[in-house]
Amino acid sequence: MRRVRKTLAVLLFAIVGVYAAAQVHETDKPIRTGPKADAVQYLYPEQVTVTAGKSAPVALHFRVKQGLHINSHAPKDEFLIPTVLSIPESSGVRLDSAEYPTGTEFALPVEPGTKLIVYTGEFAIQARLVAQPGDHMVEAKLRYQACDASACLPPKTITVPIDVVAK
């Protein structure tokens, strides 16, 4: 009986000890803030499987940083830089078409009468891809130009990595 009690006690101490150690380890991990992030982040999908040689729909999801907006694909002003998705020609995957969201109206506080058409928060581009047979690590590109309510950041192009498996 005593042996059972001892075994149970040791077992309990071991469990609690391992858990406590795990907690300390977790707490010691620094919160990763990393370098200054891009104004737009690609969310998903990381991988898609499509039928080789046929135009396949793929919805690409992005997020614009809080407090910022980017021009839509069809901004009202000709001088503004539109958001554009592209795929390098040599990737084995062709961008057949891309349907962009309409965007929402936005006005600068100093000029509420002038409406811009922008993307904020999460948005998705409905792309159609045509892929050659095989596994392709595609590095698509998204070009955009971001602003907040009073200033603008320079235009930027980010990489949109997608593993396209074409069967």
């Binding site: 907690q23 001088f79 811009l116 200033a151």
Partner: protein
């Protein structure tokens, strides 16, 4: 019987410990995720603020000298404007707030030109001198913007080449108000108001000696807070 009770109790205790550990771990992860999100949000909001903060050390110092081409290919230097108050306005064709601000600048330039004030508009649009065709197109785009906005002051190109001496130029519009002695008396990033710009122009016109170093407001970084300027400004407006 007693032994069975003891074993059942121990098993229940172990299960309770695991449940607690699981719950505690989930809570911890939730809090960590919230903390991370809060940090990211803060970083997002200060991104343009960072650009403004970078201007602070330049205030009270001589404006970094430069010589850039205007749209006709003529070299224009800041030194050419010695003795004048100058607003160096960094802008870009793709910058919506710059488009809103430009008519204000045109008005103010015309209003204060007779008092020894000039604006140097410095475009930060990308230019590719290695490709003659692209360079021509880029200049044409800038030129179209200048014509459409009726900008009467010199517009220089290749502003990005000044990003290092002028605090990074991470966001547009960015303006430096330089007094007659060539010192920066105020700097702003982002659009504020026509009145704010006018106050800074008046400050540049009146100030001609080294301004004392003090606190600065990140949005509109002004030193030498001269209450007389505000009084004069109100008087002139009325």
């Amino acid at each position: 019987m007693k032994r069975n009770t003891l074993v059942t109790g121990a098993v229940l205790l172990i299960l309770a410990t695991f449940s607690w550990a699981g719950w505690a771990n989930w809570e911890y992860r939730k809090q960590a995720a919230e903390k991370r999100l809060a940090n990211v949000s803060q970083a997002e909001l200060v991104e343009v603020g960072d650009a403004q903060t970078a201007l602070g050390p330049l205030i009270g110092r001589p404006a970094p000298q430069f010589s850039l081409e205007d749209l006709s290919g003529r070299r224009v230097s800041l030194a050419d404007y010695k003795g004048k108050a100058v607003l160096i306005n960094f802008w870009a064709t793709w910058c919506g707030p710059c488009k809103v601000e430009t008519p204000w600048l045109v008005d103010l330039r015309n209003q204060y030109a007779g008092k020894g004030f000039e604006i140097l508009g410095v475009s930060t649009d990308d230019i590719d001198r290695g490709d003659a065709k692209a360079f021509g197109q880029e200049k044409q785009e800038i030129s179209e913007f200048v014509q459409r906005m009726h900008m009467p002051y010199p517009v220089l190109i290749d502003g990005d080449s000044l990003s290092k001496p002028y605090g990074g130029l991470d966001a547009m519009p960015t303006s430096f108000f330089v007094d007659r002695s060539g010192k920066i008396v105020a700097a702003t990033t982002g659009i504020t108001s026509k009145d704010d710009i006018e106050v800074n122009i008046q400050k540049a016109l009146k100030s001609s000696s080294l301004v004392p170093v003090g606190d600065f407001n990140p949005r509109s970084q002004n030193q030498d807070v001269d209450t007389q300027i505000a009084t004069d400004f109100d008087r002139e407006k009325s």
